[in-house]
Assembly symmetry: C2
Homo-oligomer: 303 residues x 2
């Protein structure tokens, strides 16, 4: 299944919502994809007093106002985690855990990447380590793979997919990868994976690392070493530069100019993923600018 | 009279208010100077729907929310028009129609300059044309000067000042310099200049131009040519680059980087004066960033 949109907004925090609002007002067809909570940072903020016009509000309260606003215009958030993006000829393929979409432009609003990189993760990226089960899973037919689920148990589609192609799947729920995660695990998270396929083993662990030689050979979960050929890592948000091949960064943030253009034509970025300071007003402002720049870009190109 | 502040914010539109809010939260001493209406553009907007969190609101309504927010934190707006800024040694002198202040840093949030430049204005700037009556008025002792008041009659202090030093003052109320102005003129505007000093003549005109040779020699008001040595032009907002000597611009906007730094250390800018797109969310976001950058700058320097 493939739908084609003017734009796809990746992320539904303040920057993504502001971008979506402006795309809607400008009558562009678009999708906004994100996680259930949209913004961990905002949800956890006890009190915010520097978003002009809405004094002394809780993070949760402000997020509710934001969501109400976009919903009042008929904008629907699609709860899908983007696992890969492939730039094509004036067109981008966006792969999620559930589906695949096509868009003429992209707005990246993935926020800050709070989880630490695992030992071995960068070293074996593309050599057994992958962020996209549906993309790379088929490479591990009849082999053993591990699926590290940092999303708090939201990776059920990926479990089923991998279980269908691989010989053996180790489904690992890390226990303390981030405070955000701790909040989501335990009963609730486990409840979302009620029945695992026969070739899938559920594991929990606090300390994870990836080992190998040329390619991945094992995953270490606390004291235990498990022989695997592939390790899939699923996080709430992917680092933008891992998501979009060739995306330029500056000091670990997506490099943008004042119009929120990245180094790739048709790809715009907004919000915390573009760097400090991490401010709501900045995020919504950049989201608006990114959307208007995307509109300008779209209007200049053949449909 | 001279007070010294950590920062002076010039302009009380959305960018200036957001900057002030963040300076207040960060416990910096500051002044925010602006015109009565703060933002003509916002006040005139019939309906705004892209300021995330406050859907379907009038420009006037949104401005009220903004002002309520800053007032709820005890921030006072000072209704003074800045006429000149002089950079010194880690310190800026800010001259208004009423007073003079000193600050360790500046945030420029003067919005867009909507009035057209008059014929002869740029040519004779510094050669008889001035934007600051209290600065340059004394140069015209015993001479004739014109004061062009585009503020809708708010230049009473300047009229009195010039009448006190010059031999003859022509106080000119332009009639259609901009749509914003039309709104403000007529009865209300004239009412603010109830009694003019004896050496002051009130004039009205729709077409103005400045003539001279080496320096200014006359002002033409419609068909009438008046011999003057100086022409003072007072607008709601001064072009930022005219206000701050040496300020770099790019495509007629104040040149800034992603941290809202200008080319002058200690001078930051935010909002519409930094260029298109002219968006509320962008302005408030940039105001917040400019304030935090100013805080960072201040904290690194001796008091």
């Amino acid at each position: 299944m493939s739908d084609r949109y003017d734009c796809i907004v990746i992320g539904c925090g303040p920057a993504g919502l502001s971008a979506a609002l402006n795309l809607n007002i400008r009558n562009k067809s678009f999708l906004i994809l994100g996680t259930k909570q949209c913004s961990h940072r905002l949800a956890k903020a006890e009190r915010i007093d520097n978003y002009l016009g809405l004094p002394e509000i809780s993070g949760q309260g402000l997020m509710e106002r934001y969501l109400q606003h976009v919903r009042s215009r008929g904008i629907e958030l699609r709860e899908e985690r983007v696992t890969a993006v492939y730039p094509g000829d004036g067109e981008f393929a966006v792969i999620t855990g559930k589906s695949q979409y096509s868009a003429r432009s992209l707005i990246i609003a993935t926020g800050v990447h709070i989880e630490r990189v695992l030992p071995g993760e960068n070293e074996y990226l593309g050599k057994g380590v992958s962020y996209c089960a549906t993309c790379d899973g088929p490479l591990f037919r009849e082999k053993a793979v591990a699926l590290l689920d940092y999303t708090g148990g939201a990776a059920h589609d990926e479990v089923l997919f991998l279980a269908g192609v691989a010989k053996q799947v180790y489904y690992v729920l890390p226990q303390r990868a981030s405070t955000a995660f701790v909040h989501d695990t335990s009963a609730a998270a486990v409840a979302t994976v009620p029945s695992l396929p026969g070739n899938t083993t559920l594991m929990r662990g606090t300390s994870l690392s990836i080992k190998g030689t040329e390619t991945v050979s094992s995953l270490i979960v606390d004291e235990q070493e498990i022989a695997v050929d592939g390790v899939f890592i699923l996080r709430e948000t992917q680092k933008a530069e891992n998501l979009v091949p060739g995306l330029a960064t500056d000091k670990k943030a997506v490099a943008v100019n004042g119009q929120m253009e990245t180094n790739i034509a048709g790809v715009f970025a907004a919000g915390d993923c573009t760097g400090k300071p991490y401010q709501l007003a900045k995020a919504t402002g950049q989201g608006a600018v990114a959307a208007l720049s995307a509109v300008g870009y779209l209007d200049k190109r053949p449909k």
